[in-house]
C-alpha cells in the first residue's frame, strides 16, 4: 500500500517536472520563432514586448532586448504550463490547447494592453501583426496543451489507449 503511494508521488513529481520543462522549452522555441517572424517583418512586436513596461536603455528594442525577452518569456511560460496542467490537463481534444493559446493572446493584447506603453492600439497595429501573433499564440497553446494532456493520459489515463 505504502509502496503504491510513494509510486504515485513519484509519478506526480516527474509529471510536474515534465510540465515545467514543456513550459520552458515551449516559451523558448515559440518566442524564438516570434523573434524570427519579427526579423522577417511579419509582426511589429517581438519578444522584447515583455520588456516594454520598464524604462530601460535603447538596447531593449534591439536584438539584445529580444534575446533577453526570449529568456524571460521562457521562464514565464513555465507558469503558463502549470496553469494549463491545473485547468485543462484532463481534456484530450487538441482544441483545448488552441483555445488556451487564443485566450492567452486576448489577455496579452487586450487585457494587458495598457501596461505595454508604445504598443499601438489593436485596430491600428495592422492585420499582419494581429494574424502572426495570434497564430504564434495558437501554436504555442497547442504545443503546451498537446504535451500536457498526452503526458497526463500516459500517466493517469486508463490503459485503453489501444482501442481507437
Amino acid at each position: 500500500m505504502e509502496d503504491k503511494k510513494s509510486q504515485q508521488m513519484e509519478t506526480d513529481g516527474s509529471f510536474m517536472s515534465r510540465v515545467i520543462s514543456v513550459g520552458f522549452f515551449g516559451g523558448l522555441i515559440w518566442s524564438l520563432i516570434a523573434f524570427l517572424a519579427y526579423y522577417l517583418n511579419f509582426t511589429k512586436v517581438g519578444p522584447a514586448l515583455i520588456l516594454a513596461p520598464w524604462a530601460l536603455g535603447k538596447w531593449k528594442n534591439e536584438w539584445l532586448g529580444h534575446l533577453i525577452g526570449v529568456v524571460i518569456l521562457a521562464l514565464l511560460s513555465i507558469l503558463v504550463a502549470i496553469g494549463y496542467r491545473f485547468l485543462l490537463s484532463k481534456v484530450k481534444s487538441m482544441w483545448a490547447g488552441i483555445l488556451y493559446g487564443t485566450v492567452l493572446w486576448f489577455i496579452v493584447f487586450y487585457v494587458l494592453h495598457p501596461i505595454f506603453p508604445g504598443l499601438e492600439p489593436m485596430n491600428k497595429i495592422g492585420k499582419n501583426t494581429v494574424v502572426t501573433t495570434l497564430c504564434l499564440f495558437i501554436l504555442y497553446g497547442l504545443f503546451i496543451g498537446m504535451t500536457i494532456s498526452f503526458e497526463y493520459s500516459e500517466r493517469y489515463g486508463t490503459n485503453n489507449q489501444k482501442s481507437s
Partner: protein, 490 residues
C-alpha cells in the same frame, strides 16, 4: 476465409483425389501444374508439382530414392511408413485437408499421394525465381552493409535473423488475399514491442478482405493506417536489413510482405522520415551536421519559394540588409505564373527520370539544365531568381530521405504559394499554422505524428536534432511503449 469453409477430406482412393485435383486445378488446361505417377511397392503413388516454383534437383533426388527403395523392401506392412522414411528432405508435413494441400501445391511445395491413405505428404522443395540481395537504390550509404531485402519473404526474414540471433525475435506469418494468398510476416521482439500494438496490427491485418495484393506492402499500408486523402506518409519503408533491425531493437513492429523488397516499419512519426542510415555511419558530430543540412533542405523545400514570393509582392517587408532580394525586372509573365511553370517543369523532369533508362538520363539532364534553364531565361520566360529558388526547393525535395514525404511537402508548398498569392503575409502565416495543426493532429496507430516535437519530449527531440552517439543511447524511445525501456539488462 478458407478456414470457414467445410474441410474437404482426402479420399482413400487415389483415383478420386486425382479426379478432384484435375477438376480444381485444371491440370491439362493450365500447363504449370503437373503430376508424375509412380508404382512403388505395388502401390499407386502420385506426385503433384507446380512448375517453376520448385527445385527440380530435389524432386529428382526424392524420386531416385523412391525407385531405389522399391528394390529394398519386399511387401512391407505399411507403404506409407516406408515412403515417409524415404523422403529425403527435412521439411515434410502430413495433412488430411485438401484445401491446405492445394494451397501448398500452388506455393511451390510438392504433394505425394499414396493410394489407400487419407493423408498426403507435403514436401517443401520451393525455389522461387528472384534476385540476390543487392544494395537498395533509394537508401545508399558510403560505407556499411550492401545487402538489401529482396522480393522473397524467406530471404528477408533470413537477412533479419542474421543480424538478430535473439531467441525472442518472432516472425509470425499470416496469409492475406482470398485469391493471391500472399504471405505477410509480422516481426517483433517479444519482450520489447508493445503487446497492444502487436495486437492492433494483427487485428487490422486479419480483417483485410481483398482478392489479391500485387502491390504488396503499399496495399497493406493503406489498410493499416487509414490514409484517406492525407498526403503525408504514415508508414516508413526500408529496404535495408540494418535499418529494419535497428527499429526492431527500438521496439518497432515490422511488417514484411512477400513479393516486395520494402519492409513496413510501424509506428512512425514525421521525424522518422527525415533520418537516413548514412547519418549513423558517420561520426556523431558529422552525422549531426548532415542531419542539420538535411533539415535545412527540407524546411527550404516547404517555405523558401512562398517566402520569396511574399517579398516579391511586398518588397517593403524585406529585412534590413536583404533588400537586394527580388527580381530586378519582372519579365514578361507574372512571377506567380513563372513559379508555377517552374514547379510543373521540375515535376515533369522528376516523373521522366523515374522511367528514363540510365543511358538516356544524361541527355535528359542536359536538356533540362541547358535548354530549359538557360534558354528559358534568355527567351524571357523566366526571371533568373525563379530558377534559383525553384531549384533550391527541388533539391530540398530530393534531399528528403522519404520520397513520400518529399512529395507531400511539394504539395504543401504549392498550396502555400497559392495562399501567399491571395492573402500575402496572413496567408503564409495561417498556412503554416494550419499545416502544423494538421500534422500535429494526425495519429498513426495511436502514435502522435509530430512526436517528440508535439507532444514535446526534450530527450527524444535531442536524439533527433543531435544524432547522439550510440553508446549514449541506453533507452528505447518512450513513444513505442516498450516493455523494456532499457536497451541492455545492466
Amino acid at each position: 476465409m478458407a478456414q470457414k469453409k467445410a474441410k474437404i477430406p482426402i479420399s482413400k482412393k487415389i483415383e478420386e483425389n486425382e479426379e478432384l485435383l484435375k477438376k480444381r486445378l485444371g491440370i491439362g488446361e493450365t500447363f504449370d501444374v503437373g503430376v508424375r505417377k509412380l508404382l512403388l511397392l505395388k502401390t499407386k503413388v502420385q506426385l503433384y508439382y507446380c512448375n517453376g516454383l520448385c527445385d527440380t534437383t530435389y524432386i529428382i533426388q526424392i524420386m531416385r530414392e523412391f525407385m531405389l527403395m522399391n528394390n529394398q523392401h519386399k511387401s512391407p506392412h505399411s507403404v506409407k511408413e516406408v515412403i515417409h522414411n524415404h523422403i529425403t528432405h527435412e521439411q515434410v508435413e502430413l495433412t488430411d485437408n485438401m484445401d491446405e494441400a492445394v494451397d501448398r501445391l500452388l506455393s511451390g511445395l510438392i504433394l505425394i499421394f499414396v493410394d489407400g491413405e487419407d493423408e498426403v505428404f507435403i514436401v517443401d522443395v520451393r525455389s522461387y525465381p528472384g534476385r540476390n540481395p543487392e544494395e537498395p537504390d533509394t537508401e545508399k550509404v558510403v560505407r556499411g552493409s550492401r545487402d538489401g531485402y529482396t522480393e522473397n519473404i524467406i530471404i528477408n526474414t533470413a537477412l533479419t535473423r542474421r543480424r538478430l540471433r535473439d531467441e525472442r525475435l518472432r516472425n509470425e506469418i499470416v496469409q492475406v488475399g482470398e485469391r493471391s494468398k500472399t504471405d505477410i510476416c509480422i516481426s517483433y521482439l517479444k519482450d520489447v514491442a508493445d503487446p497492444g500494438l502487436i495486437k492492433l496490427i494483427k487485428k487490422e491485418i486479419s480483417t483485410i478482405s481483398i482478392d489479391g495484393i500485387p502491390m504488396a506492402d503499399k496495399t497493406i499500408e493503406e489498410y493499416l493506417v487509414k490514409q484517406g486523402f492525407n498526403p503525408f506518409p504514415m508508414a516508413r519503408y526500408t529496404e535495408r536489413p540494418d535499418v529494419a533491425v535497428q527499429h526492431l531493437l527500438e521496439g518497432h513492429v515490422l511488417v514484411m510482405v512477400d513479393t516486395s523488397p520494402s519492409v513496413l516499419i510501424t509506428p512512425t512519426t514525421y521525424f522518422h522520415h527525415v533520418q537516413h542510415a548514412e547519418e549513423f555511419r558517420q561520426t556523431p558530430l558529422t552525422g549531426a551536421f548532415e542531419r542539420w543540412f538535411r533539415f535545412i533542405g527540407i524546411l527550404a523545400a516547404i517555405m523558401l519559394v512562398p517566402l520569396w514570393y511574399l517579398y516579391v509582392q511586398d518588397p517593403h517587408l524585406l529585412p534590413k540588409g536583404l533588400e537586394f532580394i527580388g527580381p530586378n525586372k519582372h519579365g514578361h509573365l507574372p512571377i506567380f505564373l513563372q513559379l508555377l511553370l517552374a514547379e510543373v517543369g521540375i515535376h515533369l523532369l522528376r516523373l521522366a527520370a523515374i522511367h528514363t533508362p540510365n543511358a538516356l538520363a544524361t541527355s535528359m539532364g542536359l536538356v533540362a539544365a541547358v535548354l530549359i534553364g538557360q534558354i528559358a531565361i534568355s527567351v524571357g520566360v523566366f526571371v533568373p531568381e525563379v530558377i534559383l529558388y525553384s531549384s533550391v526547393s527541388a533539391i530540398g525535395t530530393f534531399v528528403t530521405p522519404s520520397v513520400e514525404l518529399g512529395l507531400a511537402n511539394d504539395l504543401f508548398r504549392i498550396l502555400l504559394l497559392l495562399l501567399v498569392a491571395i492573402f500575402h503575409v496572413p496567408g503564409y502565416v495561417i498556412g503554416l499554422t494550419l499545416f502544423i495543426i494538421f500534422i500535429a493532429n494526425m495519429k498513426n496507430l495511436n502514435t502522435p505524428y509530430l512526436w517528440p516535437f508535439m507532444p514535446f519530449n526534450a530527450k527524444a527531440l535531442l536524439t533527433i536534432i543531435m544524432r547522439v552517439a550510440v553508446p549514449m543511447t541506453k533507452m528505447r524511445p518512450s513513444i513505442l511503449h516498450p516493455q523494456n525501456p532499457k536497451r541492455t539488462s545492466n
